[in-house]
């Protein structure tokens, strides 16, 4: 076991997979010699060579398209998109090609591509370094979509993603790369070293895609969350009189409906929180699923706490970020319903 932050855990996953499987290659802007702008691939080119940890031209469309070709030819590429906000030049290749290749060829062709993309705000990145576009990709049939909230899950899920024969879009909440963040920007930063899931095995293990995790048990209300919001939810619950059960969804597609419904059937109440904008966001899918599966158990309307339906602003970042205050109010609201 070692103490790792999320960057080190992701690095460790890629290191391991490059070592175990000669077909694994990494490609992306600045990932090679430099080790990535967030340093997730640091040292990997030195260790595995520039033919396996490959610097790419600045062309997300080209990066995705070429990984499809590589995948079809038997490699297992991991593409890094420097910021999730810059994934859009590759979106036609993702939606029309990568996601549907298996279906349109009746399984004769497929591309086991993992797309890593740092997402989320809280870093003063303005509208083009803060987005959470998971809902755009969860809407596409044929893509698996995941977002870890801890170093342990980040490594285990990335290993699963690389081993998966289906394409996986792997979102990394960059605000918690270096430590858990509970939504309060005025508090001193905390490190992963004091978090139980900052303990990460050095060796191989995996966290299965498609499984949510109950991170706090409670009786009154179920909070569905993922990424940075898991930590916001934990901090909110710790201060609240409401006994919340917190579920880290982890995998948007496929969704672990069983874990979600089991919890809501117990608590009878559900609050959903994500950083992405609300309208047509992934929370809508969660709410609809809970409503369909647990309607007769519900004692209050399902409530969503989300980013406002505007681009992510630079100046009013903390007014925008769905923090503890808004979540606490939502908990009170569902309890008084």
């Amino acid at each position: 076991m070692a103490r790792m932050n999320m960057i080190q855990a992701l690095n460790s996953a890629m290191d391991l997979m490059l070592g175990r499987d000669p077909d694994v290659v990494i490609i992306g802007e600045d990932v090679g010699y430099f080790g990535g702008v967030f340093r997730c691939t640091e040292g990997l080119q030195r260790k595995y060579g520039e033919h396996r940890v490959i610097d790419a031209p600045i062309a997300e469309g080209g990066i995705i398209a070429s990984t499809i070709g590589m995948g079809v030819h038997g490699l297992r590429p991991v593409a890094e998109i420097q910021f999730a906000d810059y994934i859009y030049p590759g979106i036609d290749q993702i939606i029309s090609e990568l996601a549907r290749l298996r279906y349109r060829t009746a399984g004769d062709f497929f591309a086991p591509v993992t797309i890593r993309a740092p997402c989320g705000g809280g870093i003063r990145g303005g509208q083009t370094h803060s987005q959470s576009p998971e809902g755009i990709f969860s809407h596409v049939c044929g893509l698996k979509v995941v977002m870890p909230s801890t170093p342990y899950d980040a490594k285990g899920l990335l290993i699963s993603a690389i081993e998966d024969d289906d394409p996986v879009v792997f979102f990394e909440p960059k605000r918690i790369y270096n430590g858990p963040f509970d939504g309060d920007p005025d508090k001193p930063a905390t490190a992963w070293s004091s978090h139980p899931k900052g303990e990460v095995p050095d060796g191989y293990y995996s966290v299965p895609i498609g499984r949510a995790e109950v991170v706090r048990e409670g009786e009154d209300v179920t909070i569905l969350c993922y990424g940075t919001m898991v930590h916001v939810a934990e901090a909110t619950a710790a201060r609240s009189e409401v006994d919340a059960e917190i579920i880290d969804v982890r995998s948007m597609v496929p969704l672990d409906v069983g874990t979600l419904t089991k919890s809501v059937e117990k608590t009878g109440r559900c609050v959903i929180i994500h950083e992405a904008t609300r309208f047509s966001g992934f929370g809508a899918e969660l709410a609809a699923t809970v409503q369909e599966e647990c309607f007769y158990y519900l004692e209050a309307p399902i409530t969503r706490v989300c980013g406002w339906d505007t681009p992510y602003p630079h100046a009013f970042e903390w007014e925008y970020f769905p923090g503890q205050k808004r979540l606490a109010a939502a908990l009170d609201q569902v309890m008084s319903a």
Partner: protein, 412 residues
Amino acid sequence: MARKSRLHIPHPPARPGDRPDFGYVEISEAGEVDRPEVNSRVKHMESLAHDMVRVLDDQHAALGPWNPHLDTHELQIALRYLVLSRVFDERMLRMQRQGNISFYMQSTGEEAVSIGAAMALQPSDMLFPSYRNSGLHFARGRNPVDLMCQCLSNSKDMCKGRQMPIMYHWARGKIFSISGNLGTQFPQAVGWAMASAIKGEDAIAAAWLGEGSTAEADFHHALTFAAVYQAPVILNIVNNQWAISTFQGFAGGERRSFAARGPGYGIASIRLDGNDLLAVHAVTRWAAERARTGNGPTLIEHVTYRAAAHSTSDDPSRYRPKDEWRSWPLGDPIERLKRHMIVQGDWTEARHDKLVADVRELVDESWKEALTHGSMTEGPFLDKYELFEDVFKDIPTHLISQREQMLGFEED
């Protein structure tokens, strides 16, 4: 396992610890490259995409057919803008380091690309910059206070706090908004130029992007549309050798110049010394005349060097020799113009020192004034209410209710 990869991987000539080596940069003698008529056919001027238009020689004389013959007054204006651009950058970098602004990007070493071009264009021409063209604003007479207020996201920020620092725009000055997404402005400029042609107007468009960004599909859309419609547009590639940690070979510059892509599309293309303000000015003026007289688009490659870090989040000593900038064969654009003016007898060291001092004072005063409109920590602040405006022309009901919710949280 015992595989032998045959993939070609581009390598920069020097990494940290190596001796800088710019032997790959092909440089023509000043004054040596022909200046064709503005209506020349593309196939008759293809060599301009490989040669390098230079006006200033190593003795600081202005030579050859591309000499724009700027008068003393114009040269002094150009020099002032160059100095303003650099002093402004130095100041804002310091302000970022002290935590007054969240982020910054300098244009150091490539100021002539913006200043030379803006001075050769008409005020009615529309400019589509990248983030490393703040000189366009200065050369169009923008008050530095306005740019500072944007960097501060304060109550006078033209973006109302919605964009990161340096993502300026200026509707009245005809300078388009800077996007964080690379290259998007290139084909948009072509569209603007197409509209100008459709409306029968004389105004042309000009756009800039880094050589790294030429890999994006938008670059190629721009060239296709510009060529197909013979749009009155000037497309500028600023080849400053580095795109964050990847050198220009990773954008496809290893074997041919970036300008050489133009003739393949049927576009007049010129490679020039981007640290020679006179060359930038002359070629821009040529391209503008070509566009305005209905002879179509021009692609210009400005060969220059990014002397500073990519941004305040970057540390270039991790990927390139620390002192590489000192070995750059095309020198420093400010120093070169200054020397030229001194050699011509129009300028002295003493006058230059006074210019720098004046500009420093202007920048100091501007900063003080900008702070009176607020900072990230001190008021006056922007109105939070406005967070929800301009998503649409008219605010829809769901945003009105979200705004009420947010203001409710602010109160308790």
